[in-house]
Every structure is written in C-alpha cells, then in structure tokens.
Amino acid sequence: MTQTMRQFKNGLIDQNPTLVLLLGMCPTLATSTSMTNAVGMGLAATAVLICSNFAVSALRKLIPEKIRIAAFVVIIAGFVTAVDYLLQAFVPALSESLGMFIPLIVVNCIILARAEAFASKNGVMRSALDGLTMGMGFTLALMTVSAIRELLSAGSLFGFRVLPEAFPSIGIMAQPPGGFIVLGVVIAVMQAIRNRGKARPAA
C-alpha cells in the first residue's frame, strides 16, 4: 500500500477524526441537524485544514518550538476568518445557518491536532493531503450523522422530502439529545466495522 493510499485510509477509517479519534465533537453535534449544514461545515473545515496544514508545514522550520501553538492558532484563525468572509459574500444562506460555528472552526481541535501531530513534522504536499483526507473523514462523519437526524426529525434530506408524510417525525432528533444518541450509535457501528475479523482478546 502506498503512503498516499494509507493516508486516505487513515483519514476516512483508521484515524477518522470524528468517529475514531473523537475530536471536534462540538461542531459535529451542533451542525449535524441537516445535511446542508453538515456539508457546508465539513467543506469549510476541510478548506481550512488543507490551507493550515500547508502553511504550518511550510513554516515548520521557522517557527520556534516555544510559540508553536500560538503561531498555529494565528495561522488557523487567519484562514478561518478568510473562509468566513468568503461564505458571507458568496453563500450568504449557508453562512446564516451555520452562524457562530464558522468562526468557531478556529478552536476546532481536529485542525490544531493535525497541525501539531502531522503538519509540523511532515513535508508540504503530504501535509496538504493529510488536510484533505482528514477533512473528508470529518465531512463524511458529519454527513452520516446528519442524514440520520434529518431523516428522522424532518423526513427529508438536503431539505427535500424523502419519507412519506405519514412517517412520524421524531422531534428530539433535531435537538442536542438526538445528536448524542445518533453520534453514539454511529461510533459503535464504526468500531464494529473496524473490529470485524479481528480476534477478540482472551477473557
């Protein structure tokens, strides 16, 4: 398996930031109420991840050890603010519905974790690819959770009605408790898939 393939597998499955590393729980729970929000949030975070990983990797030799976290946060905050302006200008509806959660990408621990754990130790292209794969893992996890929540709470996907009107809507799914329940179930399913075929440890 080439390193590129392994990076994709890591981002999407083995080290999926949301479902395996359990990073970025707050935006996951908050923005997974609808598919539109989930995709918007996922893509915004992915864009920031790619850019910040690229920049951190390029500057890794110049940034002194002592202030690296502060420097990373400045870099990340810069990209997040830029993304925020761009969304407000070109996708105002999405910007409105994601609201506070776009600026909050600054403190999304997935992004800081990748800057610290990967980009500050690897080359520029590898780091950018890491941003892409991790961002995809985050986006797919968000989409999975939000698809279940939107279907059960409103019977729709991307705002379009999918289930028949007769299907009862479960209001709690749109609210935080529903988010926790669905996220828990999705994480469990993910673990079951990853552990399939592995021998159980002896009791």
């Binding site: 870099i75 200008a89 105002p92």
Partner: protein, 228 residues
C-alpha cells in the same frame, strides 16, 4: 566567522611578501577596511546570538511577522468580499421589507441612519407603510430575536411580521418563524397580549411572548420617532 576575522587581521599585520610591496597608503586603507569588517562581523554575531531560535527577541519577531502577514492577507480578502457582503445584506433587507407588503412594489428608505424605521412608498411616491425593525428578548436572552414588523399607514395595523434572526432553542422556538403563529397578528393593531386573542406556540411560550412584545415595541417606536 571568528576565523575570517582573524585572517583579515593577519593579512594586514603580516609583512607583505617581497617584490610586491604595499604602499603605506594602501596598507592604511586595508587596515581601515579590516576594522570595519571586524565591527560588522561582531555586530552580525551579536545579532545572531540575540535572535537565536528560542531567544525572546526571536519569538517576538516571529509572532509579529506572522500576525502582520496574516492581517495583511485578511485585509486583502476583506477588501474583495466586503462590497459583496454589503450588497447581500442590502438585498436581504429589501426582500424582507418587500415581503411585508405582498403584491405591492414599494421603495424603502430608512428615515434616518440606524433608526430601524423604513418608509415604504409606492411608484407615485405615496407613503404606504412602514417596516420597523425591533429586537425582542426571547428565551435565549436580551435581544435574541430580530424582527421586522410591517405597519400599514392607513389602518395602523400589522401587515406582516418577519423574524429575521433568532437564536432561540433549535427545534422548539424555531416554530416562531413559521407562518401560522405570525399570521395571527396580520391586520390587527397593538397592543398584543399572548392568551388574549393571540395563541402562543406550544412549548415556546417565552419566544411567543417575546414576539408579541416585539411587535408592541415596533408600534411604540413608530409613534415616538417615525411620524412622517
């Protein structure tokens, strides 16, 4: 660095090889040059010590450079997007205002900058109604609901209410944005009291009361400030 310095010095102090004698003037020039070079080297070395990777001045320098570059970049992005963002806000505001008076194409102007009161005039320039922007104190705190109330000049009654922005609990109070609740106010005049002719949304009493209060505030605001 030290070695370079020593070499230069040696080169001058050592006697010149025979045959290629250096005139005293040339030797003096060389000595002076070496002095300057020596000073330069010393300064450079001091600077290098000063800006060693983990020294405080270097930490400050790196952060200042990083933040300056980031700020400059953001300034550029802002310059490009701010025009569009303003246009979007204006378009959204115009749409909200026009939706308050369905079927009529009105031209809205704010009575004074920041008043939140917009005069709607038809194509003949006749004043038809007002759009009044008010904040209401909902479940999420002071000013958590921003709404626009359309008020007809002739009948002094609500034409429509539109909730522009709100940060009430997702799910429950979002219903305040849906029409059946808001439609109760249409064609009627303030004051509105929940429970007296206006029904609250089940499970969102606080938000409902906030909306009713907000509409009352809009009428009050128009009375005190907005008379044409």
């Amino acid at each position: 660095m030290r070695d370079d310095f020593a070499e230069i010095e040696n080169g001058v102090t050592e006697p010149a090889p025979s045959g290629e004698g250096i005139s005293p003037a040339e030797a003096k020039k060389k000595r002076e040059l070496s002095k300057y070079l020596g000073v330069t080297v010393n300064v450079l070395q001091a600077l290098r010590r000063f800006f060693k990777k983990d020294s405080m001045p270097n930490l400050v320098l790196v952060m200042v450079l990083l933040t300056s570059v980031t700020a400059a970049g953001l300034g550029a992005v802002y310059a490009v997007t701010s025009v569009t963002i303003e246009e979007n806000d204006q378009i959204a505001l115009n749409k909200t205002l026009n939706d308050l008076f369905p079927g009529q194409a009105l031209l809205f102007t704010e009575t004074s900058e920041g008043s939140g009161i917009y005069q709607g005039r038809n194509s003949e320039g006749e004043l038809v109604g007002f759009g009044v922007k008010t904040l209401a104190d909902g479940f999420a705190g002071k000013g958590s609901i921003t709404m626009m109330v359309g008020i007809d000049v002739r009948t002094q009654s609500v034409t429509r209410v539109s909730v522009m922005k709100q940060r009430e609990t997702t799910g429950f109070s979002l219903a305040a944005k849906r029409d059946p609740f808001l439609e109760q106010f249409n064609g009627r005049s303030a004051p509105f009291v929940i429970g007296e002719g206006v029904d609250a949304i089940a499970g969102a009493t606080v938000s409902s009361e906030a909306v009713a209060q907000g509409i009352n505030n809009a009428f009050a605001l128009l009375e005190t400030e907005g008379s044409p």
